[in-house]
């Protein structure tokens, strides 16, 4: 049986970013996220290399659906994929529960997508408003 997703974890992660930034600077936040992406998303990078962007589409769909985000994904074969997030579940949950949201919480998606893009020959671009809306794009180099 599937349990409920423990969304409070987003708040704990946000506090983690805040701790890093406060004590060691924003560069430490980025460096940490790079390490995280390289160590944890190897499986996804491998899948994208083998099967193309449909794997990233599947992964994004799964995580945003599970956490009841509002989003839309458009993919042009293996050329380009665009994720438009209208309601980021992490930011909305933290706001709803009154958790402090780290000022650049969205940097996680920027760094993670860059790592994935660099390792799979895609250029990553991201625009976000820090309020729970963003557009993430990966385009073939």
């Amino acid at each position: 049986m599937k349990g409920k997703i423990h969304k409070d974890f987003h708040g704990a992660l946000s506090v983690g970013f805040e701790f890093l930034d406060k004590n060691f600077g924003k560069k430490a936040v980025e460096e940490y996220l790079k390490q995280f992406a390289e160590n944890i998303y190897g499986w996804l990078i491998k899948k994208i290399k083998n099967n193309g962007l449909s794997e990233l589409e599947r992964y994004w769909s799964e995580i945003f659906s599970e956490e009841e985000g509002e989003f839309e994904i458009k993919r042009r074969d293996n050329e380009e994929i665009v994720l438009k997030v209208k309601k980021c579940p992490a930011i909305y949950h933290m706001k709803e529960k009154g958790y402090p949201v780290y000022s650049d919480f969205c940097i996680q998606c920027k760094v993670i997508n860059e790592v994935i893009g660099n390792k799979t020959c895609y250029i990553s671009k991201i625009k976000y408003d820090k309020k729970g809306r963003c557009e993430q794009k990966l385009r073939k180099k």
């Binding site: 409920k4 997703i5 701790f19 430490a28 160590n39 944890i40 995580i63």
Partner: protein, 147 residues
């Protein structure tokens, strides 16, 4: 977005990152920071309801995290026997390299619990399988009359 289900992996990587770059003291300082800045709900529950608040907090979190555990609650004690820690389970399943002191992060609860007249003890039985015991009891008043 790092999904909530991958948070434990992010947490573990953060401990490893802090230790590698700044030493274990930075990791411990981070646990204290989490305790002071994130666990305000636990703080409020223990402050207002004591042991009943602890039961409320851990029933909620451990159920959502799908832990395998037993909980014993009495008028002046609270115990959790963790048979399968969900965090350790996730890391074992994903075959990630665990931060060697990962289990020690549960000391972050001690800082809150002991503020309100309780003694918090944790015994790690099997760190690889995620088995441990948390024992909390009311601090006994010292008898000053030497009877």
């Amino acid at each position: 977005m790092i999904p909530a289900k991958e948070f434990i992996l992010a947490y573990n990587e953060l401990f490893k990152f802090l230790h590698r770059k700044y030493g274990k003291k930075a990791v411990v300082n981070f646990w204290f920071y989490i305790s002071d800045n994130f666990l305000k709900n636990l703080d409020k529950l223990v402050k207002e309801k004591g042991i009943a608040g602890m039961a409320e907090y851990w029933t909620h979190t451990l159920t959502e995290e799908k832990a395998v555990y037993t909980m014993s609650v009495g008028p002046d004690y609270f115990e959790i026997f963790m048979k399968k820690c969900p965090s350790v389970g996730i890391m074992n399943k994903r075959k990630v390299k665990k931060y060697p002191y990962y289990c020690e992060h549960c000391v972050l609860y001690k800082r809150i619990i002991e503020k309100y007249g309780f003694v918090y003890k944790i015994k790690f039985i099997d760190k690889e399988k995620g088995v441990c015991k948390i024992k909390i009891h009311k601090k006994r008043e010292k008898n000053g009359d030497n009877c």
